[in-house]
């Protein structure tokens, strides 16, 4: 078990599952559990098919340097975007993602779409499908790329399944959106992990010979973490609004 990979997959998928749960709960409460489960189950089936279509050739057909480059690029695109967004949120230039506000908005949207009927509500099911599919798609990309890059796909799968179990159990137990989940801090950490993995594998795919593989990866991750923390602190100071400087560490 590669704990670094499992941890990255756990955090990355956890953020996505938390957002999907908010939509699922809003639909379940307004349009019934059957409607919510129908949309979610359909999304899971489509995602599973996508994993097979994308994952199989990456694992069995495409040559390793090509896989490294493609996977590295995808990780960079996701990771740098997440890191950038997390830095902006942590420094107060963007509002933190508010699960309660998202939940209230979705509840309102569902209520406006009509009363709850006896059968499955098409609008509600489609909303759950969209939510679970889109958030799940990002989770799938994270699991496949992190897993393949470190040649530890099973560790990435275990990490994401653990995240799914934790989020679902919390959702079932609390029956409300998980606003206490430190989404920005999780996004920050995963952003650093994906960016460093992406740099490493895209470089390797292009022909960079890193000095002692694992040690280099650690240095790259430390570089992204330290420099991003310094940049976030500078941004906070430049903004001059300490009261809104929340996110990392919460």
């Amino acid at each position: 078990m590669n704990l670094y990979v499992a941890g990255a997959a756990f955090l990355g998928a956890g953020v996505e599952f938390t957002e999907a749960l908010t939509i699922f709960l809003a639909v379940a409460l307004t349009k019934g559990a059957r409607t919510a489960w129908t949309g979610a189950a359909l999304a899971v089936v489509v995602l599973a098919a996508l994993v097979a279509i994308i994952g199989y050739p990456l694992v069995h057909v495409v040559q390793l340097p090509v896989v490294q480059l493609v996977v590295g690029l995808i990780m960079l695109l996701f990771g740098m975007r997440w890191l950038r967004k997390a830095m902006l949120r942590a420094s107060g230039y963007r509002a933190l993602h508010d699960e309660e506000a998202a939940f209230a908005k979705e509840l309102d949207r569902q209520r406006q779409s009509g009363q709850r009927g006896a059968g499955i509500d098409g609008f509600g099911a489609m909303t759950t499908f969209n939510g679970v599919f889109l958030e799940g798609l990002e989770a799938v990309f994270i699991v496949i790329t992190v897993g393949l890059s470190a040649q530890a796909l099973s560790s990435a799968i275990y990490g994401s399944v653990a995240a799914l179990v934790v989020i679902v159990l919390l959702g079932v137990a609390l029956r409300k959106p998980l606003k206490a989940v430190p989404e920005n801090a999780m996004k920050y950490v995963v952003g650093v992990m994906l960016s460093s993995f992406g740099t490493f594998w895209a470089g390797e795919g292009m022909g960079v010979k890193w000095w002692d593989k694992d040690v280099s990866l650690l240095f790259v991750a430390l570089f992204f973490l330290i420099v991003s923390l310094i940049a976030t602190a500078v941004l906070k100071a430049g903004r001059g609004d300490v009261s809104k400087s929340v996110g990392v560490g919460h």
Binding site: M80, L134, M206, V208, W210, V227
Partner: protein
């Protein structure tokens, strides 16, 4: 449609970040082709990629301050 937007969004959400990433990778590849040592190129690649993030953040911050 939304799924396509998520994937394409990686590019069009922030063209400066995407462009900066591409430039960093192209520069790294060029340096490798002309024979610069791999370790140096790797370090420079990490620097350039982070610079792309900073440029993208600076543009957003400046737009919000104006």
């Amino acid at each position: 449609m939304k799924a396509i937007r998520v994937i394409v969004g990686l590019v069009y959400d922030d063209p400066w970040l995407f462009g900066g990433t591409l430039v960093a990778l192209l520069v790294a590849k060029f340096l490798l082709v002309i024979g610069v040592a791999g370790v140096a190129v790797g370090g420079l690649l990490a620097l350039l990629l982070f610079a792309a993030i900073l440029v993208s953040i600076a543009r957003e911050v400046r737009a919000k301050k104006v």
